[in-house]
């Protein structure tokens, strides 16, 4: 699903150049649930941004579902993001003046799907995250966990190849964190490929594979015994 070869990225800060990714080789198979770990400054967010086509690498190759991701125009990148990727952010990033169902339907709007079908699909995904009865509520009327579930529904609504979650539990307490991880695990059980960036050990161990980044290189890449989050959820 994801093929990365010898990926380099550096940022220019005035006269200094900061080498953030120093040759990443990495691949993800269909249906995997991968945790990308590392302390801050390890390059994990940069990697996720490149994977999410929000940023471009200086060198190296990136294939997504066999499609080379290279020299994309902003328009093309937007279309690929819409088609291939679903984003889940630490701070949810729901649009505050749109209610839950409108937020979920937004990626479908950019896919030019008709209004009625959009509503149906959005409602379907809201139901899957257990928030059907909250469909017409604004984000400000939802709890943190609910917001993140809406965000997950939104990420899934476009039926992407890969879900990218950037610290999905970073803004949540541990109980809600487990609820969200439980949901992510269930989505993964259905065969979806998911990448989770996190710095929390327990969250990482709820994935099936942990990739450890340090100073811009992968220092560890191991399969782990998945801890089911459901056992922590009442």
């Amino acid at each position: 699903m994801i093929e990365i070869k010898d990926l380099h990225k550096s940022y220019r800060m005035g006269s200094n150049s900061l080498h953030v990714l120093k040759g990443i080789n990495f691949s993800v198979e269909d249906g995997e649930l991968v945790a990308i770990m590392g302390s801050s400054g390890s390059g994990k967010s940069t990697l996720l941004n490149i994977l999410g086509m929000l940023d471009v690498a200086d060198s190296g190759s990136y294939h997504l579902d066999g499609v080379p991701i290279k020299d994309l125009s902003e328009t093309k990148a937007a279309q690929y993001r819409n088609k291939f990727l679903g984003f889940i952010f630490q701070s949810f990033n729901l649009i505050n003046y749109k209610n839950a169902i409108e937020n979920v339907a937004l990626p479908l709007y950019y896919q030019r799907i008709g209004r009625k079908e959009r509503q149906e699909k959005a409602l379907k995904y809201l139901e899957r995250v257990g928030l059907k009865q909250w469909a017409t509520h604004l984000p400000s009327e939802l709890s943190g966990g609910q917001k993140q579930r809406v965000a997950i529904a939104r990420a899934m609504a476009a039926e992407p190849k890969v879900l990218l979650a950037d610290e999905p539990t970073g803004a949540l307490d541990s109980t809600t964190s487990y609820e969200v991880m439980d949901l992510i695990q269930k989505i993964n059980d259905e065969g979806n490929t998911i990448l989770v960036v996190t710095h929390e050990e327990d969250i990482a161990h709820m994935c099936k594979r942990i990739v450890h980044l340090k100073d811009g290189v992968i220092v560890e890449d191991k399969m782990v015994e998945q801890v089911r989050a459901a056992q922590y959820v009442q």
Binding site: N82, S91, Y97, L106, R154
Partner: protein, 420 residues
């Protein structure tokens, strides 16, 4: 383009406009005031011009009065201080020599300029009224509205020196009973019987006009008062496209030549140029209309720039939202168009409200001033100007929208999302 006709685009835009009512209100107020001021000012200027036109519609715009005075320079053997007397033949000469003259009406009067008014009697009633000796040409220069059933003096009256007269409203009231039809009736002017052929409605406009004036044929007048070929003054109208000041100069020069006065003797012939005065008045209202256009456009411009400014701030505020949209698959083009359409919608909405309220204000002013003496009639803004200002707003709205739109697109989604 397709985006423009998509219902979802509009839902998106109205959601984002509705999201922050205060912002929307503040954004729109500049353009609203601009168009409101433009409509108000230019309507008022038009009303003033229409009012002037109404006031002076009874008299030709390019008209003037010319009369004779005393010379102030000796010339050709004549000493200074000689009284000049205009003659009927001067009219022919003037008309022949100055092609710009459309109509020339020699006039005589009894009752102003120091002469005694005519004594008018009818049965036991009598009064003193000004009596004018006139040609039919006079009505080509100053319209006389004659009541139904009557007429003004005509060519046959002149030829046959008929003893007919046109009387004023007041004269009618004072000499005739209420239900009596004055047409065909007889009045005595300085002892001579005249038949009334018309009653003129007083309209004002020219100097010396009165609602009691009596008009009789010029030829009858000179027999009655023994004025011979003498003419008190000429009322002259030039063609619309003629330069009235030049025509006035030509006329006076010609008259000086005829009456053998010094070519530089400005005092010998007196004149009053209504055309020049009209030009000044209409120049004033033209200037007002132009001023309102300039002020209006400038204010609209300022308002539109205000919209651009606030949209820039709002783009900054919405950086994150726009980043999320980009991450979810909005192309730069879609983001740009959304911002431009927002600018356009705000501009147009404000503009249309401004036009409606401006028109309502004009209507209100009209109803408050209507019917009065103040020269202010039908204050309107011509539709092409309204459409023109709307077009201007559309163009400016799009142009100003480009700035925040470009700013929105230039923010990379990753930077937008990183911003907390």
């Amino acid at each position: 383009m397709k985006q423009l006709f998509d219902r979802d685009t509009w839902i998106e835009i109205f959601q984002s406009i509705r999201k922050n009512r205060l912002r929307t209100f503040l954004t729109m107020i500049g353009v609203f005031i601009g168009i409101y001021i433009y409509i108000g000012l230019s309507g008022a200027a038009n009303g003033l011009q229409n009012g002037f036109e109404r006031e002076f519609k009874t008299i030709a715009r390019n008209s003037m009065f010319v009369w004779a005075q005393q010379t102030s320079m000796p010339y050709s053997g004549f000493k200074t201080g000689r009284q000049i007397q205009l003659k009927l033949s001067d009219a022919e000469t003037l008309k022949k020599q100055i092609p710009e003259i459309e109509a020339i009406a020699p006039r005589n009067v009894q009752g102003i300029f120091g002469s005694n008014p005519g004594v008018i009697t009818r049965g036991l009633k009598s009064g003193n009224y000004s009596v004018f000796g006139d040609f039919p040409e006079f009505t080509k220069i100053a319209t006389k509205r004659i009541y139904d059933g009557g007429r003004f003096i005509n060519d046959e009256d002149i030829e046959q020196e008929r003893k007919v007269c046109v009387i004023g409203e007041r004269t009618q009231k004072e000499l005739f009973d209420d239900e009596e039809n004055p047409i065909g009736g007889y009045i005595e002017i300085d002892g001579v019987n005249f038949q009334v052929v018309g009653v003129h409605k007083f309209a004002g406009g020219g100097p010396f006009d009165n609602d009691s004036d009596i008009f009789i044929p010029f030829t009858t007048f000179r027999k009655l008062y023994n004025t011979g070929e003498n003419v008190s003054w000429f009322t002259i109208a030039a063609y619309d496209d003629a330069n009235v000041i030049e025509v006035e100069k030509d006329i006076k020069a010609t008259l000086r030549r005829i009456h053998q006065t010094h070519p530089q003797d400005e005092k010998a012939i007196g004149s009053f140029n209504l055309g020049e005065m009209f030009n000044k008045i209409f120049g004033f209202s033209d200037g007002l209309i132009f001023l309102s256009l300039v002020v209006g456009i400038a204010t609209i411009l300022a308002g539109v720039i205000g919209i651009g400014n606030i949209l820039l701030i709002s783009v900054k505020e919405r950086t994150k939202e726009l980043g999320v949209r980009r991450a979810l698959g909005a192309t730069p083009g879609e983001v740009r168009n959304q911002i431009i359409i927002e600018a356009l919608v705000l501009t147009l909405l404000a503009g249309i409200i401004g036009i409606i309220l401006g028109a309502a204000t004009l209507k209100l002013i009209d109803s408050l001033t209507g019917g009065g003496d103040f020269p202010y009639t039908n204050p309107t803004v011509p539709i092409p100007y309204v459409l023109g200002s709307l077009m201007l707003m559309i163009i400016l709205g799009i142009l100003i929208g480009l700035i925040p739109a470009q700013r929105a697109v230039s923010i990379r989604p990753i930077d937008a999302l990183r911003e907390e």
